[in-house]
């Protein structure tokens, strides 16, 4: 067995005591200036900064976790929903014992709702925002990644101070999640209260996690609305039929596994996620064409309806289900409040980036063979889901409208000259060379 060390990214301990306040206010009409920093509306527990967040300098992950008699039990400072949750899962006779991570020499004992959280992934997109929110909440957050991407990166608009604080607190567990033995051993050695699985695709990848953490309080899974069976009646609700043959069946199998294992799980099903750092070329695909002044080729009528959800709203949804008894064994669609046509999305991207209204060219995809290349970033069908269950049960609501969400993405990412995939207009040129105006 290889011993992998779990090390803090930055061993310096910092003691910020900032509160983050959302600065955006919604106005009834029109577009508001996009926020330039990652902010959150959550009220923060006032706590001493050196609790929990301060990492141990080095840890050899070989010791099994033990219930420690001196660790503070769940305190009455918990919000009531959290108490309910713990009371219900564990029974009054078994109070949760946890080891409170403390910097060497400190006498701090923290009685708070802070948890030891593992994020599978967390260095590319959703996790980048989610981990920040969790750290701000005072949780101890570890990212499990292979380390291919930098463990942390300063976000555009994020202050040096904020970034330094985050960087000092986030922890990294390096490994390949497909190495199931390693996953099981390292996680068992560490022990985590909560796992956020942001990058899991197959049920087999989740089994070792569950095996390693029998006392896991909650497994929160990033699934996909792609599991829904295509239907003539929309939007998709969580009760709808799912498609065991879909491209996303691994997500479905994972949800099934979670359910069968008796673990306290919550699954979120996003539609199309967008926002700064998006590595799926959704808005980026439009921005490239708008910037190049090129027409936007849209398959068929352009009235197909899709739905985008901002990554920050998704991150907030992930926070909202944490320790939330209502969310136990529930699935939630998470996306934007409204849906949009393909044509409408092209126009919204233009508006968000300050481009003139684009020329849209409709074409019949059946007349072309693009090989392995995707000529358009969305599935050629109506695809949208209702988020009212999350709104009703969790009190979560998407804060970004389409245009201001796209503006946020543009201003913090593409508009600054950054993008993940270079522009590739090869399929466009094929289409434009032989375009057919279809009835709309």
């Amino acid at each position: 067995m290889t011993i992998h060390t779990r090390k803090a990214v930055d061993t310096a301990v910092s003691y910020p005591s900032q509160k983050y306040v959302r600065q955006r206010t919604r106005e009834a009409s029109g577009l508001e200036p996009p926020p330039t920093t990652l902010t959150t509306t959550r009220a923060h527990l006032d706590r001493n900064a050196n609790a929990l967040g301060a990492p141990m300098a080095r840890l050899v992950a070989a010791q099994p976790r033990q219930a420690s008699p001196w660790a503070s039990p769940r305190s009455s400072l918990l919000p009531s929903s959290l108490s309910e949750f713990h009371g219900a899962t564990l029974g009054a006779s078994l109070q949760k014992k946890r080891r409170v991570w403390q910097p060497k020499g400190s006498l701090q004992v923290t009685a708070s709702s802070a948890k030891k959280i593992l994020i599978m992934g967390g260095t590319r997109f959703i996790g980048v925002f989610l981990s920040r929110l969790l750290v701000q909440e005072g949780h101890q957050v570890t990212l499990f990644t292979r380390g291919k991407a930098p463990i942390t990166q300063q976000l555009p608009g994020e202050s040096d101070q904020d970034y330094a604080d985050f960087k000092s607190k986030i922890l990294h567990l390096k490994g390949d999640r497909k190495d199931f033995e390693f996953v099981k051993t390292s996680l068992a050695a560490e022990g985590f209260d909560v796992v956020y699985d942001i990058n899991g695709r197959e049920a087999t990848e989740v089994e070792p996690i569950l095996d390693a953490l029998p006392k896991l309080e909650q497994f929160i899974y990033c699934s996909s609305a792609g599991v829904y069976l295509k239907s003539d009646m929309l939007p998709h609700f969580e009760i709808d039929a799912v498609d065991p043959k879909s491209r996303h069946k691994g997500k479905l199998e994972t949800e099934s596994l979670l359910d069968s294992r008796g673990v306290n799980w919550t699954s979120l099903r996003p539609v199309y996620i967008y926002g700064p750092l998006n590595y799926n070329p959704v808005e980026e695909w439009f921005f490239h064409r708008l910037k190049a002044g090129r027409p936007i080729p849209v398959p068929n009528s352009g009235v197909q309806i899709t739905q985008l959800g901002h990554v920050k709203d998704l991150a907030r949804a992930f926070i909202t289900v944490l320790g939330n008894s209502k969310a136990s064994k529930q699935v939630y669609n998470i996306s934007g409040s409204k849906y949009v046509t393909f044509d409408g999305l092209a126009k919204a991207c233009a508006k968000a980036g300050g481009f003139p209204e684009p020329e849209i060219v409709h074409y019949n995809p059946k007349e072309f063979d693009f090989g392995k290349k995707k000529a358009f970033p969305f599935r050629d069908q109506h695809f949208f889901a209702s988020v009212e269950k999350a709104e009703r049960e969790l009190g979560w609501t998407p804060e970004y409208g389409l245009v201001d969400g796209l503006a946020d993405s543009y201003n913090l990412d593409f508009g600054r000259g950054t993008f993940r995939k270079a522009a590739d207009f090869s399929t466009d040129d094929v289409i434009l060379g032989k375009s057919l105006v279809l009835q709309s």
Binding site: A92, D232, M233, L234, I239, D240, A241, V340, G344, R392
Partner: protein
């Protein structure tokens, strides 16, 4: 419902069913019926207990608060149009109110003896009378004279599309001390947008005549007022064709010509959804006060999808033809019963504020409608399809499938 785990404090709900501690509601029929004919689909949820998933709009505790005294019997006046798609709303609403023990008077526009009264729902007004309702006829502008000394708690105007028609009714209601005024407007007043759906609070076309009515009612300071914006509805007793348009063609083995791509979304509700929403507004007049409600089901269907569902309900083959109305040179409004565009509103306010749930189940509801269609012999009726023929001719399509 599972018993709360014994080890917890007594007040805590069971973790599994934490969100199930709700009053029993009529579950939607939808969860048990797959929407498509994909018969081999294994529903994952078949392994899960049926009440694990709430119906899409089961009310949470914060949204359903009965207004004080709302459970008491009310005297309701419905001013009802004598024709058109909305006529059936008043009929169902009256039936539902009577079923709940309220007093109902329906004032239908025009004369009792007019030809218009020979069509449903008016042909079924005797049902209202035998349930204890009163039916009157006349000019709504003279409503005060017609109803005389009768006092009403609630008035629903399900008639006027413009201020000239509704103002006399609203003014009379105000002066007569009517506590709650409800108005059937239209979801057609929403401004079109690339973003879907129409949600309460979205911009409306300022020059739409219903808008002036809505604003006028809002300004009259009723104890409670609310506006309802419906789309299209199906249901026994309907006055205007909806699904019949599809059945007419399907049973005669004719192709169904759909304008455009067939992907346009619309909202087809069973009229009982509308009447249940209105009833909830009457019973929760405080919560409903000052609100706009999209009076529709909570699912959109495409034109293609609706055609398929109608064919399935009829147990027949379906052939769809898409055409461009402009290219063919016909007015889509005359050729097809629905607006040729995305036209889809969602009933978010009703769900959030009234705890209302939709029970429209198109596959089942259309089956019922088809059964009635055949029962009244409409499938055998001689019919001409002049516009269809023109479309098919221009596309050179053979009529028999």
């Amino acid at each position: 419902m599972a018993v709360a785990s014994a080890s917890t404090a007594a007040a805590l709900p069971s973790l599994h069913y934490a969100s199930r501690s709700l009053p029993h509601r009529t579950l939607r029929l939808l969860p048990s019926i797959p929407y498509t004919s994909h018969s081999t689909v294994t529903r994952l949820s078949s392994r899960r207990l049926p009440n694990r998933y709430s119906s899409p709009s089961s009310p949470s505790s914060f949204s359903v608060k009965a207004a004080a005294a709302s459970a008491s019997k009310k005297s309701v006046l419905i001013v009802n149009t004598n024709s058109g798609g909305h006529a059936v709303i008043g009929f169902y609403f009256a039936q539902e109110l009577l079923g709940s023990g309220h007093e109902v008077t329906v004032l239908t526009v025009g004369d009792e003896g007019s030809d218009k009264m020979k069509k449903p729902p008016f042909t079924r007004f005797s049902e209202l009378v035998s349930s204890g309702g009163k039916t009157l006829w006349g000019d709504p502008a003279e409503v005060g004279d017609i109803v005389g000394k009768n006092k009403f708690d609630v008035v629903l105007d399900n008639n006027g599309k413009d201020l000239d028609t509704v103002k006399p009714v609203a003014d009379w209601a105000k002066s007569a001390g009517v506590e709650q005024f409800l108005y059937i407007s239209s979801a057609g007043i929403y401004k079109t947008s690339d973003e879907i759906p129409h949600v309460e609070g979205d911009l409306v076309k300022e020059d739409a005549s219903h808008v002036a009515v809505e604003k006028y009612i809002a300004g009259l300071s009723f104890g409670s007022w609310a506006v309802f914006r419906p789309q299209y509805m199906i249901g026994s007793g309907n006055n205007k064709d909806c699904e019949e348009w599809f059945f007419d063609r399907i049973v005669r083995n004719r192709p169904v010509p759909l304008p455009g791509s067939g992907m346009q979304l619309t909202n087809i509700s069973h009229v009982r959804d509308l009447s249940s929403m209105l009833s909830l507004a009457v019973e929760n007049s405080d919560a409903a006060n000052g609100k706009i409600f999209n009076c529709v089901s909570d699912r959109a269907v495409t034109f293609d999808g609706l055609a398929k569902l109608c064919a399935q309900a009829a147990g027949r083959e379906l052939k769809i033809i898409h055409y461009d109305p402009k290219a063919v040179g016909i007015d889509a409004k005359k050729a097809f019963p629905f607006r040729n565009m995305h036209f889809y509103a969602e009933p978010r306010a009703a769900k959030q504020i009234l705890g209302w749930t939709s029970t429209t189940n198109l596959p089942e509801d259309l089956k019922e409608r088809y059964d009635e269609y055949v029962k009244i012999g409409r499938d055998k009726k001689e019919m001409k399809f002049d516009i269809d023929d023109k479309i098919l001719e221009s596309l050179k399509v053979a009529v028999t499938v």
